[in-house]
Symmetry: C2
Subunit: 260 residues, 2 copies
């Protein structure tokens, strides 16, 4: 095994362990809620955002464990957005990750409520950050509002792709990195670097997604150039961080080479 | 004018002013979101929970202004629950406070999103408490999860009235008082007193609501006795608080004498 795999597996383990700690226990009353909430979060997913959060704490010279609660929080928040996006009144998706979506399995009312509970749980978990908890929660609050703003703009079909991508996708990447940096004890300038990294990575991730879906609003050639440009901007923002930023760099590399 | 009216008006003014400060500005982009969010919060309501929050800061010897952000936060959270409760997949209420409910005016998807944004805004606002911000957010997080648990139990129609009332109604009263006590600098025992006050007041409020609706699961006579019992328990919990608890007492008195 090489060191990068070790790091990735160790960070993933922190994320999964912390999620299990903060989720309602199996069968916890009311079981209708603990079942739907656990189903939404435990159905899989690559845990990209918690990995970014944990690796950001390391990149500012802190320990990954410092960012364990913020990392779980960003994954809970991400999963609430998926549960609500799938609703019949929204994207009307009956499947998610190859299984029935939450509303298809538990009914529409319970899916609205499962998403609501996941958002509540996300903030309660973020507040448990061992350092800068108020700043961590504030960063999550900005992203949680922003992601809704991006979705409203998307539904309104104004065609402002930049606004939608920045808010619907990049805001959660930014929150992940900023929360990790704050919980890891990063300085203001460290956190600003992480913000630039994550904003550009989030945009590169979304453009790459468009290429994978064969549906690029800017056309294939320009989108490929944008992926390269945003990835380079992300990686160069890592320069000057006081800790080990190599895992953040590796995440960036992996996310934008999903076609190969 | 008497002093109590002065205090009530002064506290209400802090609540309204802070709500205006933290809400998205009129026309803020995306306007579909700022319109629906403002519509939900500015449509009226008695602001009972923010008043409890502000008066709790005073009751522990702090200033009402210390609890301005927590007070706005609990009102934002309460309004998100109303927006989602009214949804077609939930209570299917097309009117609220004599006007079209949020989904009836803005559509179902936008109502889901307006509620989601209000919850995000609530937590971001709670994090701005000048003291004990992490504790304030944690208290809001417990209530925000609890209120969903109460609603899930209600929909499941298990008939466990106590569980439903404690969580669907009293949890937000408890959060209001606890957040106010923490932001006002109260000690652990002060905050415990406020919690007992608010739990009992929340239950009394709900029983009183049942009487007003002519729909008491325990029957009219037993419910009237419960209102008295819970109100007395609430008021006696205020004994020993280091600040001026008279306004909290006055709120309790007013809430349970709505029939007269």
């Amino acid at each position: 095994m090489n060191g990068e795999q070790d790091t990735g597996a160790a960070l993933l383990d922190i994320a999964e362990r912390t999620l299990q700690e903060v989720l309602p226990a199996e069968g916890e009353r009311p079981s209708g809620l603990s079942d739907s909430v656990r189903y939404a979060v435990c159905a899989g997913g690559k845990r990209i955002r918690p990995l970014i959060c944990l690796a950001s704490a390391v990149a500012v010279g802190g320990r990954a464990e410092d960012a364990a609660y913020p990392a779980a929080a960003i994954e809970l928040l991400h999963n609430y957005t998926l549960v609500h996006d799938d609703l019949p009144s929204m994207d009307n998706d009956a499947t998610r990750r190859g299984k029935p979506s939450v509303w298809a399995k538990f009914g529409e009312a319970n899916a609205v409520l499962a998403g609501d509970a996941l958002q509540a749980l996300a903030f309660g978990t973020a507040a448990r950050a061992p350092r800068n908890a108020a700043g961590v929660v504030a960063a999550l609050g900005r992203a949680a509002y922003g992601v809704v703003a991006g979705q409203v703009e998307d539904i309104a079909a104004t065609g402002d792709t930049e606004f939608i991508y920045e808010h619907k996708t990049a805001d959660l990447f930014v929150a992940a990195a900023v929360m990790g940096g704050l919980a890891g004890g990063g300085s203001d300038s460290d956190v600003a670097r992480l913000r630039t990294f994550a904003l550009n990575l989030g945009l590169a991730f979304q453009y790459e997604d468009d290429l994978l879906d064969g549906d690029s609003p800017y056309g294939c050639e320009k989108t490929e150039a944008l992926v390269r440009e945003k990835t380079e901007a992300a990686v160069s923002a890592l320069q000057g961080l006081p800790g080990d930023a190599s895992f953040l760099g590796r995440i960036a590399e992996k996310l934008v080479s999903r076609r190969t």
